[in-house]
Structure formats: structure tokens, C-alpha cells
């Protein structure tokens, strides 16, 4: 299989790799770059476990070819904490017991981050809509929704 050079920014750090032509971003991140926070769930675009943020937009890394990300800025959940301090969303997920088996959590947090970046004080319905592409089989969703709303309140208080 031919190798293709790919260069992008991952969580603020420049990355350059030779990957298999046609490889998905999910496989490139996990197998070549070593960022295992995006999870391979369904590989069909149904579960949202592989969600990442590409140039500010939520996307599914399992359906995105890595070559199409040349020059892009990619954010994954592994890049959220700073200096050992958890991101408010990560903190809220822990506090609200919004993560049980944890498999869906990185994708959920990516979806929630895009929402809060654009809508700092979302309604409950907006949170539900933002998470509608992400499946969780453990929590029943309510703790996750509450965690996102809590993180939003936390952000608002910190900004005040």
C-alpha cells in the first residue's frame, strides 16, 4: 500500500506522518500518532464515539480520510486538559457520574465542546440536540446532559 504524507495540527501541536493512502483519520490518530482518545465503535457514522473537531466543526473520524485533513486543525479529547487540570467538561462528567464504561465519553465531550464553544449557555433541548449523534449504552443520557449544563454554568461563572 502506497504511503501518503499528511500534515495537520493536533491539539495545537504540528504532526506530520506517512500514512496508508485511504486510511481513515481514526486509524491514523490511533495507530500512527498514538492518540487513542477517539474510539472506533460502529465505523458506520452511527455511534459518535470517534467524534473529533476539525477546523471548529464536529466530524466523525471513522468516515474521514486522513488525507483530506491536510492543513487542518484537529482537536481531540486528549488535548483538553491543561497542565494536569481537567477541562470543565471533563470535570463535570466526572462529578456527574456521566461516564460509566467510558467508551462514548471522548465523543460526547467533543460534541459538547463544539456546542459550548458556540452557545455558552445552552438550553437543555440544545444540549440534547448537540449530543443526538452520540450513543451511550450505560448512563441513560441524563447524567451526560446534566454534566454539559453544569460545565456551561461553570464557564459562565468563571467568565463573570
Amino acid at each position: 500500500m502506497a504511503k501518503t504524507p499528511v500534515q495537520f495540527t493536533l491539539n495545537g501541536a504540528e504532526k506530520a506522518e506517512f500514512i496508508d493512502s485511504g486510511a481513515t483519520l481514526l486509524n491514523a490518530l490511533r495507530d500512527k500518532i498514538g492518540d487513542t482518545s477517539p474510539k472506533g465503535g460502529c465505523h458506520q457514522g452511527t455511534c459518535g464515539a470517534c467524534s473529533v473537531i476539525i477546523d471548529g466543526e464536529l466530524r466523525l473520524s471513522c468516515l474521514t480520510l486522513a488525507e483530506t485533513c491536510n492543513g487542518a486543525a484537529i482537536t481531540t479529547t486528549s488535548g483538553l486538559s491543561q497542565g494536569g487540570v481537567l477541562h470543565p467538561l471533563q470535570r463535570a462528567f466526572l462529578d456527574a457520574f456521566a461516564s460509566q464504561c467510558g467508551f462514548c465519553t471522548p465523543g460526547m465531550i467533543m460534541a459538547a465542546k463544539v456546542l459550548l464553544d458556540r452557545t455558552p449557555n445552552p438550553t437543555r433541548d440544545e444540549v440534547v440536540e448537540a449530543l443526538s449523534g452520540n450513543i451511550c449504552r450505560c448512563t441513560g443520557y441524563e447524567p451526560i446532559i446534566q454534566a454539559v449544563l453544569t460545565a456551561a454554568r461553570s464557564n459562565s461563572q468563571n467568565a463573570a
Binding site: M1, A2, T4, D20, S21, G22, A23, T24, N27, H43, Q44, G45, G48, S51, E57, L58, R59, L60, C62, L63, T64, L65, E67, T68, A111, V114, V128, E129, A130, S132, G133, N134
Partner: protein, 264 residues
């Protein structure tokens, strides 16, 4: 399975490369990369084009032209396409809408392709380098289409002119039991003077409900007025059976949901 990807700056060059056996056009990836991930061995390589026109939305008066690579999210947030926002938001969740393209939706097999149902009711045209064809003609022969779809054109309906309903078991995002789009024109007395009704999941691809359209002409949008149309709503349908619903169920509930849409 890793597959080769070729990127071309023009549709013309991409069309030439697409002639190779096993080559599929890559739009947003929600159909063809999914197929490859599922082990579809008929896919051996991908071709895409970065021609800017593919990602452009042009609104001139009531005439709209949407590049085939425009995503559902871009349509949903476009200030001049509010009439279609509901149908665009019916596709997938937020991440899928950031990826799924209007061109790709034309090829989505049932139970997907909800946005195409709206385009069918609008009487859209599908553009390729070979010219334009009515969407109904395109859908009938979409498997044999070998030219890259470049754009979709249609006239915006007057306010409230496009009615759209997606029925699913899971809210806010779920796979369709069925979807319905209708573009109706009414005379000053309220009688329907023109009706285009399109159905999703009632066949292997979006289809027109022509018997219902005919039965609506001259009728008012009341319970009594639409009754003849509902009675023939399932004429000519051949619904899919899948884990979401059986063909029998889809035929049973179609008149109920069509009635709700027409009376809304």
C-alpha cells in the same frame, strides 16, 4: 481496509479518473467510506474534486443552485434557505450534517436520503458535466449514473410552501420510518391548484405520490377535503422492510402522517 484516494482540482479530471473499475466518488464520506469500512469489496479507490463551484450556494431571486459538495449543515444555516433548513436538519446528527453532502444524499438508499425527498417535492434538477436532468429521472437511473453530480437547482417555494415531515422512533435523531415532503399551491378560495408530494422509505428510493397529488387537486385542506388523497396515498408504493419498520407498517401509517402534514 485502506484504499487509494485521488484528488483533482477539476470535475472534468475527476470524471475521467472515475471511469476506472472499483472507483467511487468521495463526497462527505458518509456513504462510500462507510461502505469501505463495512468491507464492500467493490470499492477499490476513491476520487474527489476540490473544484470551488461544488461547495457554492447561489441564490438569485427565487432560483437556487447548490453545489453537490455543500453539506447539510451549510444548508441548514444559510439565511436564504430557511425553507429547507428543517429537511437538512433531518439528516443524521450534528457530525453527520457537517459531512453529508447534498450530492451524496441523492444516492443514499432507503431508509436514508431524507433531504432528497424534499428536493423531489421541489421538482429539482440534477446537474452534471453532461447537463441537467429532472431529479425524478435522475433517481430512476441513479445506479447507472457515471458522471459526477455537480449541482442541484430548484425554485424556492413561497413562504410555507414546502412542508416536510420525518417520522422516526427516536428523537431528536433517528432513522426514518418514513419521510414526506409536499409543495402545494392553493387558489384564493383555498382549493389546491398544484401538488407535489414526495415520499421516503416507501420504495428503495424517494418517489412521488402521484395518485395522492391528483386526488388533492381542487380540494381544500380540511379533513374531508384530503380524505380522497389519503385513501390513495399508498398507491404504487413498495416500502422497505428493515429493523425500523415493516413494509406493512409503513403503508399503514403513511396516510396518518400525510394527513397530519397536509392539515398542519
Amino acid at each position: 481496509m485502506a484504499l487509494a484516494l485521488q484528488t483533482f482540482s477539476t470535475v472534468k479530471d475527476a470524471n475521467a479518473a472515475l471511469k476506472a473499475a472499483g472507483t467511487r466518488y468521495l463526497g462527505g464520506g458518509t456513504l462510500v467510506v462507510r461502505a469501505a469500512n463495512e468491507g464492500d469489496v467493490s470499492v477499490s479507490s476513491f476520487v474527489r474534486s476540490t473544484e470551488p463551484a461544488l461547495s457554492t450556494i447561489t441564490v438569485s431571486g427565487s432560483e437556487v443552485r447548490i453545489g453537490a459538495s455543500v453539506t447539510m449543515a451549510a444548508i441548514a444555516r444559510h439565511p436564504n434557505l430557511a425553507a429547507l433548513a428543517h429537511a437538512a436538519r433531518a439528516v443524521g446528527g450534528p457530525a453527520i450534517r457537517n459531512m453529508a453532502t447534498v450530492g451524496g444524499n441523492l444516492f443514499a438508499p432507503a431508509p436514508y436520503g431524507d433531504f432528497t425527498v424534499a428536493l423531489l417535492a421541489l421538482g429539482a434538477t440534477v446537474g452534471t458535466d453532461d447537463g441537467e436532468v429532472p431529479i425524478e429521472t435522475f433517481l430512476a437511473k441513479r445506479e447507472s449514473n457515471h458522471a459526477i453530480v455537480t449541482s442541484i437547482g430548484f425554485s424556492l417555494p413561497i413562504d410555507g410552501g414546502l412542508r416536510f415531515l420525518k417520522v422516526s422512533r427516536v428523537k431528536p435523531k433517528g432513522v426514518s420510518v418514513l419521510s414526506i415532503a409536499a409543495v402545494l399551491k392553493q387558489a384564493p378560495d383555498g382549493a389546491v391548484s398544484s401538488a407535489h408530494i414526495a415520499l421516503g422509505c416507501m420504495g428503495d428510493r424517494p418517489m412521488r405520490a402521484k395518485a395522492a397529488e391528483k386526488a388533492l387537486l381542487g380540494r381544500k385542506l380540511t379533513s374531508d377535503g384530503i380524505a380522497p388523497a389519503l385513501a390513495v396515498a399508498s398507491d404504487g408504493t413498495s416500502p422497505i422492510t428493515d429493523p425500523i419498520a415493516s413494509a406493512w407498517y409503513r403503508n399503514e401509517v403513511l396516510p396518518v402522517h400525510l394527513g397530519r402534514l397536509l392539515l398542519a
